[in-house]
Symmetry: C2
Subunit: 230 residues, 2 copies
Amino acid sequence: MTDTSTSPRRASRPPRAPRRDAAENRVAILDAAISELNHDPDASLETIASAAGLSRRSIYGHFSTRDELVAELNDRGIARVTAALAPIRHSDARIALALVGARLWSEVEDVRVTAQLAIRGPRREIVGKGLEPVRRGVLDLVRQGVEAGQLRTDIEPGTLARLIEGAALSVLDEAVRADISRDEGHRLVMLVALSTAGLSWREAAELIDASPELAPDAQPHASHHAGDTE
Amino acid sequence: MTDTSTSPRRASRPPRAPRRDAAENRVAILDAAISELNHDPDASLETIASAAGLSRRSIYGHFSTRDELVAELNDRGIARVTAALAPIRHSDARIALALVGARLWSEVEDVRVTAQLAIRGPRREIVGKGLEPVRRGVLDLVRQGVEAGQLRTDIEPGTLARLIEGAALSVLDEAVRADISRDEGHRLVMLVALSTAGLSWREAAELIDASPELAPDAQPHASHHAGDTE
DNA sequence: AATAACTTGCACATCAATGTGCAAGTTATT
DNA sequence: AATAACTTGCACATTGATGTGCAAGTTATT
């Protein structure tokens, strides 16, 4: 049990670093949870635990309640999405929008769980709050694009932003259903985002092919900070 | 399921017709269930019952188990969707596709619950089977459109069909989030379906405005009269 | 090797939801 | 008014999941 109580019984006890295997197990739990919740948003701790190769009891050594585990997953998801989308800035809103799709694609699993949580469950309000900045970002892109005459004007920006988001999620769903390859999904999510944004399919393809920053390998991967000596 | 047939069977039980209020209550339960499950896919019978203005206990007078209630909802949903989409036939696949969106829109609530059930829960396989014909129909339309050079060819028909379905559902979600008016939703779902199918937003709008059968008041039953208005 | 950290299995308490039985009320229908 | 249909409240059994306490085992770390 991770003692969170701040009762300074004696001199401050130095919180030691967790054991290596324990740290690994913690990650294993998180990963298993993501994976299992992708299949069934109501997966039990039992299920998650055994998927992580641990006993249910052990989970409580890392997370004091189920909610805490989910919350952590959630924070992680939001953090990843935010990190992935934050640096996107481009003079062409269409490209930026495609980039949003592409970045989401590179985080499929986390994104899906987070998105599910944002829709269902009692936490949906809170999760929604966390995603607020991301949504604002997309909305700003849409506005920028409309302003520049690059995107459709027949749908209100706010609505359009949410629809693009929804369209992208559809691709992620489809990706889980049918096993879609990395590059295929990469292109697909961009195509769909652009289509929803108002481009014809030929325009979308043209734009993607003409923009080197949208190539499947132009993805600046999330920071593996610290070059580990190998 | 519900045997209303007056089979001349004098075994031991003459099956009488249900009392009028009972029949009404049954419908009330179904309606309440739809509504509540739209808010929370895991709504309890307690919640549903009180939303229907009844006690939880009374539900068991109409449905012997929760599953049976859900199954009935499901059948009803599939029936409605099927009925709404079955008569759609048109030489122009784009119009037909828009029509699919429009018809789904007219059944929003039922469609959403059914769609949810098709994704979550242990019944998803069964529900999916029920929707099979509908999906085949959409797929056929997509193929027809591709054949005729009216729809995009950069996405595999099977995938495209599912993406269109997903896009339409996004609109339905959006409709629940923000209160969208009947006509607004009607147009929106068509626009999004066509956009996903590959049209630019201007093409989509043009097509919709030029097709009287896509007008918000074009009624569900009278199938189609030869399109001559151009 | 010694220690503390971690895992595990079991027993147990709790909780929310489902489904039943039954007796007492209401209400539609004849 | 008489009857059967229906609703309701309460008690109760059941089930699945969560969360705890504890003792006994394992394993990383020193």
